[in-house]
């Protein structure tokens, strides 16, 4: 490796390094333009940390299982039980913390299943005009012909209700939204000149889909993924609230809210605190999602 080539590589890496830094700076500036996005970032990080560190930070981890302490039923929020206790005397604070874990796990599993499938189908439909496009998009339309919650409920009802089945139900009917998103971007990019140029050069359709079009869709997809964490949790908790999602005693926030329903209004905290927890997670990711959208728009 002669000296000139070495120098060139060093200078090159400096350029790339400074460019990445400049790119990151620009992205951060756009993200932090609105203070609400920063609040969202903090809330999202708190939610994720709570979910990850749940077993260590929950004061009464054993309350998550079936055990009952009827002697300390319905205690008001106190030092010992910061959010009070529920109808089985279990510490609501610990169960809510584990509730974070279930909610975010559900969001993660659903999105990991849904995003690749939806995006790839959207890319194929967007670039391959004609029959395959109509088939994919019409099938996607069928899943969107009914409100998301209704379809999820129907699927859950047929399967035996459980957290896992709820995840499958939500995934089964959530992929069309990513197909439509990617489809619209791909078909608009398709008549951009750089895609036509790649076709005329003779690049493979794989290259065009994944190397030319996909990089330009990532901004919108990432925005939707961040916003969808909130959406999936909203639908998941509605499912378990109705009794077709997670079943007691799993500490799912929706189930806890439903469980506390019949003890209103005297023991209101049994339902209210898990409900506030749901709103907290969803709000965090919604604010963060808007920040991510700002990052990708001029």
């Amino acid at each position: 490796m002669n000296k000139a080539r070495l120098l060139r590589i060093i200078r090159l890496s400096k350029i790339i390094q400074s460019r990445r830094l400049e790119f990151a700076k620009r992205m951060w500036y756009r993200f932090s333009r609105s203070k609400l996005s920063l609040v969202g970032l903090v809330m999202a990080i708190v939610s994720i940390l709570t979910a990850l560190l749940a077993p260590w930070i929950a004061p009464h981890p054993e309350d998550v299982t079936k055990i009952t302490h009827f002697e300390r039923k319905f205690q008001l929020p106190s030092l010992e039980y910061p959010l009070g206790t529920d109808d089985y005397g279990r510490d609501i604070f610990s169960r809510t913390i584990f509730g974070f874990q279930y909610s975010l796990m559900m969001a993660a599993v659903v999105l990991v299943l849904v995003v690749p499938v939806g995006v790839i189908l959207g890319l194929i439909a967007g670039t391959r005009k004609g029959l395959i496009e109509t088939v994919i998009m019409r099938v996607a339309d069928i899943f969107i012909a009914v409100p998301a919650l209704v379809l999820a409920l129907a699927i859950c009802s047929v399967l035996t209700p459980s957290v896992f089945n709820a995840m499958m139900a939500v995934s089964l009917m959530w992929w069309p939204w990513y197909t439509r998103l990617t489809y619209h971007i791909a078909s608009s990019l398709k008549n951009e000149y750089f895609v036509q140029a790649a076709e005329l050069i003779g690049a493979s359709s794989f290259h065009i889909m994944f190397r030319e079009i996909l990089p330009n869709c990532l901004g919108s997809i990432l925005t939707k993924v961040t916003l969808d964490v909130g959406w999936v949790i909203l639908i998941g908790s509605s499912l378990s609230f109705v009794g077709l999602g997670a079943q007691p005693p799993t500490p799912d926030l929706g189930t806890m809210v439903a469980g506390g329903g019949q003890y209103m209004p005297d023991f209101w905290w049994v339902s209210i605190f898990p409900a506030v927890a749901i709103a907290f997670i969803i709000m965090g990711f919604n604010l963060l999602g808007d920040g991510v959208r700002d990052m990708f728009t001029e």
Binding site: L12, F194, A197, L200, G202, E212, N216
Partner: protein, 338 residues
Amino acid sequence: MRETTASPVGFTTKSDDKMAEKESILVVKNLTKHFKTSFGTVHAVDNIEFDVRFGETFGLVGESGSGKTTTGYMIMGVYTPTSGRIVFKGQDISVHVVKRPKSIKKDMSIVFQDPASSLNPSKTIKEIVGLPLKVHGLVKDNVELNKGVEELLEAVELPPERFMDTLPGDLGGGEKQAVAIARAIATHPSFVVLDEPTSALDVSVQAKVIKTLMKLQQELKLSYLFITHDLSLMRNVASRVAIMYLGKIYEYAPAHLFFHNPVHPYTKMLLSSVPVLTDEEETSKPRDVKSTGEVSSAINPPPGCRFHPRCPFATTICKVKEPEFVMIEPEHYVACHL
């Protein structure tokens, strides 16, 4: 009328006839393209014929909706012709680019009109210019790829060390188009379609890009199909010019005849509407035709000669019968009933 000022690069008046016998690189016969839309069928291109000779710059001029870009796209294979034939170096290529052999794709390329949209914003210049080299297997490994891209960037006067790893977003309009040109000549094609390459650029930047194109034509023996609506630019670039209106070619001739002795009323109307800088240009413009009326819709083009609604000399025959091509002088053909 002797030509004043420097004769346009890339066009040699003296050897004009010598080039005639040499076989053309591209021949287009009765080329037609109709698009079916919810409003009706758009007659974009109707039965046009022309040929491009080796090393020549053939000019296709016309306003928007004349079908000049559609013609360029059919030659490149973006659209499949409704009817008619395109013969490139003796080989029939009147099919969509997907169905064309890779050798054709290596031998032809295109430079698009809008530099901002012809480069992928999320890829570096090296990846963009390097793509044709990789697709056609002209480079074995990364070192050769780097060398190839550096040569191409130097050919279009872009210092490689400054541009190799930048993103299109950080370049000016002219520089982006230079990168698009570098990509177009990467596989050493023999024929390049230039679809209004500089109409999105400022005049000062346009001059540089045109000079680069002319230089490359000399060095790499390229033949160009130059599509534009800017007649002053065409005068300095093309050796032969054809004028299109509503999907039809109505006149084509060597450049100096086309501009000094226009025959078809539309050519005269177009020439008389061009804003010019010097009195000398003002006098060279035809004065008997003034611009009137608007172009009709391509969904149901007027019968007979499609220009008759706007033509000051239109007679009854113009409204009925389509004009045939007549030779006014050697190589100068016109389709008009006058």
